[in-house]
């Protein structure tokens, strides 16, 4: 199964990149932006065919490696 996960900084954690991207967009004339937060996106193809189990495996990966839970959260957004 293909499992997609996104990893984002936790709500209260400073996102220096998002902040600077926001300012640059503003400078380029995109004036409607309230906030930019940057994250990471993973597509992981696992051998498991049961969606629930596949999700569990990728969650485990997020917990142990992909996300730094000190400052980041993850979310499984798609399983197919």
């Amino acid at each position: 199964m293909k499992v997609s996960a996104i990893i984002t900084l936790k709500k209260d954690v400073l996102d220096p990149q998002g902040k600077v991207i926001h300012k640059t967009l503003d400078g380029m004339g995109f004036k409607d932006v309230n906030e930019v937060r940057q994250g990471k996106y993973f597509e992981i193809d696992v051998k498991e065919n049961d969606p629930k189990k596949a999700q569990k495996i990728v969650e485990d990966m997020c917990n142990k490696l992909l996300a730094n839970l000190v400052i980041e959260n993850y979310k499984i957004i798609e399983i197919q």
Partner: protein
Amino acid sequence: MKINEQIAIDHGLKKEEYKKICDLLKRVPNLTELGIFSAMWNEHCSYKSSRLHLKKLPTSGEKVIQGPGENAGVIDIEDGDAIVFKIESHNHPSFIEPYQGAATGVGGIMRDVFTMGARPIANLNSIHFGSSQNKKTKNLLRGVVHGIGGYGNCMGVPTIAGQTSFDSSYNGNILVNAMTLGLVKKNKIFYSKAAGLNKPVIYVGSKTGRDGIHGASMASASFDEKIEEKKPTVQVGDPFTEKLLLEACLELMAGDSIIAIQDMGAAGLTSSSIEMASKGNLGIELNLNKVPCRESKMTPYEIMLSESQERMLIVLENGKEDLAKKIFDKWDLDFAIIGKTTNTKNIELYYDERQVATIPINTLVENSPMYDRKWKKTKLPKKNLIKKEEFKKFKIKEVLGKILSNPNVCSKEWIWQQYDHTVMGDTIQKPGGDSGVVRVHGTDKAIAATVDSSAIYCWAHPLTGGKQVVCESWRNLISVGATPIAITNCLNFGSPEKEENMGEFVECVQGIGEACEYLKFPVVSGNVSFYNQTKEIGIKPTPSIGGVGLMKNYKQMITMDFKEINNLVLVIGKTEGHLDQSLFARNILNEKNGPPPEINLFNEKNNGESILQLIKNNLIKTAHDVSIGGIITAVSKMCIKGNKGIEFNKPKYFMNEIEYLFCEDQGRYVIEIDPKDLKKVISILDKNSVHFDELGKIIDKNMIINQKTKVTIDELKSYNTNWLKEYMN
């Protein structure tokens, strides 16, 4: 919320301390006030366990412009120039999140330096990890190195030297100590003492978020099983914003708008505002609604205790607000007038037009607790008797291979190649030498800096160890041809509430003090980090000493790579064969007891000054001090760096060859001289009553130790350079 004793204890305060707060205030504090007290009274900000002992350190001298008590120390380097420098720990945050912990440590120390008006010109670091066998070590090392590089490289400040060690006592508590040097004109130094009434208090830099709330309390609590719960307090560093903050501050400092300036480090807005007011004997009033916040609905408690990075607090001259704002706007940084100085001698906080806290400043600073903790003296251990026959089973070449590839001796190139060490175009001695050296931009002068620690010696006998680290720092400066001026110290110890750990602290400080006094090498800044332990076990006592020296003519700088075939190699200082606590004793003989090598301050000073005299007379081609691993380790490194060999003379000494080569007697240097200068060199050494041995002469490609033992330079290189690279890949 009604405050009670339990809430105070949850804030890391002791019962008695809570009682003292209530007595001083003559009432029960509210939550914001309690937060402020807990931040100001914790070990990190109040130095409550260490103050009594730190007072004994020598902190003045003819070159000292500013000793401890400011953001950083300042020394005079003549011609109207001064160097601002300090070392600081970021141990606990780095263990929790190595990248951000180390990065914000580097960011914090750079802010301490540029707060005083100095442009940072060099970074150094002293990092200590658990045993290489420990499964956490590799990730921690990688994270810390990436963090230090990530921040320092982005700031465009070269990282010119450092120290890395591995010891199982750091398994659950690594050490990350970062040091920065900055250059400033003597008449443009800025201090944190506020002056004058109704002066605007300005907030600049990044916005305030919920980062690291209670970080300063975290730094004062030892790790236990609940470590996971402490995670959300880790701060994220933004070196880009700090670079802008640096440029903006220096631009504002070029004029005469600033009365006082202080960076928001540990305990953020709380400690910065209180320190400025306290030094100026003033009050301060802040309107917390004016503080630029990143998150909505931040409470006064959170705003006061946030440890968001890259922020500064400034007391400005009246009427300079617009000029200052323009500069910070140009650099795209937040700027807000958040309060003013007052004559109340209180800190008064307002939020939503209500007073949310009012505390007399003297209760937070002068009346903060000070403890004379119980401590235990360490006896000098008995010397081990090693039988001569024992040495027979060792082959010198095998032992040398083990010593050179020992994690604490091997080349740290893998680390420092990840630090930009050449930006700013003035680095004339890169990492890997005895000291890093940078030129004073646009002059003939250069500044040498080194950071050292010897936890093993300090653990075996803290008093001797304390002296030894200072001497090692002194030697490292002398070896590159610099005159030592002053030091900064970062004192990393276990819990002050344990008599053994407190004893280690007291006696190390005493040793540091004695050596500094004798060598006229005062302490101008520093920091104490206690509670470095996991569960009940403290780390080995690890004072890190950052030494700084001056070279009037950078063209006289000395390096440690052997230069020319047929030149002579001398050992300066007497070799007595002290093996206890040496790398050889501990790692080859597996003998962990015994006293560290003795320190003779007279010899130390005399030998060092004689080396400087030889350098001034252009008689030394190469120099390197002898430290762990003894003479042969020192010489091996000189061979590797210079890609030259050495043929040892037939020994004239009365001891076993192994003792001679691997012992760690102090106060020694290896130097290379031109044979035609031998007479002149001997005459200077004799006149100064300095002992020396003629060790051998430089040859091509081989180290010939005796008739039976020959090692090629390539072998030496592979012993020394492979371990760390292979370990990390």
